[in-house]
């Protein structure tokens, strides 16, 4: 487990942790390592900024999707109609 103990991330690991952070799935230790990485890596800072912004936009209550069960009902009803049609 030498890998998970080192303080310095490479950029891939940093981006992966950043993605996880967006869904609140990163551990505290991972977040600390991410922040250390961000101190010296401009590209990942940029990525993290955009990623956070995207999360904010997505979490706004404006973005609606049809709930899954209703969508399945719709799909079934539509398939029946489609068969009648053909």
């Amino acid at each position: 487990m030498k890998d998970s103990n080192k303080i310095f991330f490479n950029c891939n690991e940093a981006n992966h942790t950043c993605d996880k952070t967006q869904y609140r799935e990163a551990s505290v230790w991972e977040k600390i390592k991410l922040n250390i990485h961000l101190l010296y890596c401009r590209a990942c800072r940029e990525y993290t900024k955009n990623n956070t912004r995207l999360t904010k936009l997505m979490n706004g209550k404006e973005v609606k999707v049809m709930p899954t069960p209703e969508k399945e009902n719709l799909q079934k009803a539509f398939e029946r109609k489609l068969q009648d049609h053909e």
Binding site: N51, M58, E62, V63, F78, H85
Partner: protein, 198 residues
């Protein structure tokens, strides 16, 4: 060169630019149409019904599709009619069961209630609503541009908030696989939304 361009133009004239294929409608457009509807009727069930009606009507009049606009544009134009019809219908029922509430019917003490005098600062303006609606549609636009797998994973994870494990089981992929797909999707989404919304 001239012959080539002639060939292309004649081919374009013969073939409609867009073809219609109802098999993918629900997957591709239901979220976009739902988003479009719910900002206009603000009731989940009504929105659901209207979207369903739209798909059925689209199926019925498929032969009228000329291929000048994209499928989605065409469906939205049907949906618009449905929404107008919906408002016409509820408008004709109006007045049958209308209840008016006022704090005070006496004209002398009108405005004595604090609620009547304080301006509602938290009221959202029409402009806010418009912007939010555009954001919703822009996001669905971008999701539509993603490859199918990325779109599915991104929607399940981000919009529906499913657990990583549940998605992995459902789609039969490993967690690391999921994160790679998700990473690509997020990068593409950020790129797509960058121009207008970042």
């Amino acid at each position: 060169m001239i012959i080539l361009s002639y060939f292309y133009s004649s081919k374009l004239a013969l073939m409609p630019e867009h073809i219609i294929d109802p098999n993918k409608w629900i997957d591709s457009y239901s979220d976009y149409l739902y988003n479009y509807t719910i900002t206009r009727v603000s009731d989940r069930e009504i929105a659901q019904d209207l979207v369903q009606d739209t798909f059925f009507a689209g199926l019925k009049s498929m032969k009228n599709f000329k291929g000048e606009a994209s499928e989605r544009t065409w469906l939205v134009s049907i949906l618009k009619r449905k929404i107008i019809d919906h408002y016409r219908k509820i408008n004709s029922n109006k007045g049958k069961a209308e209840v008016r509430i006022s704090y005070n019917t006496d004209s002398e003490t009108e405005g004595d209630w604090l609620e009547e005098r304080v301006a509602d600062q938290f009221d959202r303006t029409a402009e806010d609503n418009l912007e939010n609606e555009e954001l919703g549609l822009a996001i669905h636009n971008c999701i539509e541009k993603l490859p199918e797998k990325q779109a599915t994973v991104f929607k399940l994870k981000t919009l529906l908030g499913h657990e990583t494990e549940a998605i992995c089981n459902e789609l039969n992929i490993t967690p690391s696989n999921l994160w790679v797909i998700l990473h690509r999707a997020r990068t593409a989404m950020a790129e797509c939304l960058k121009h207008n919304w970042f």
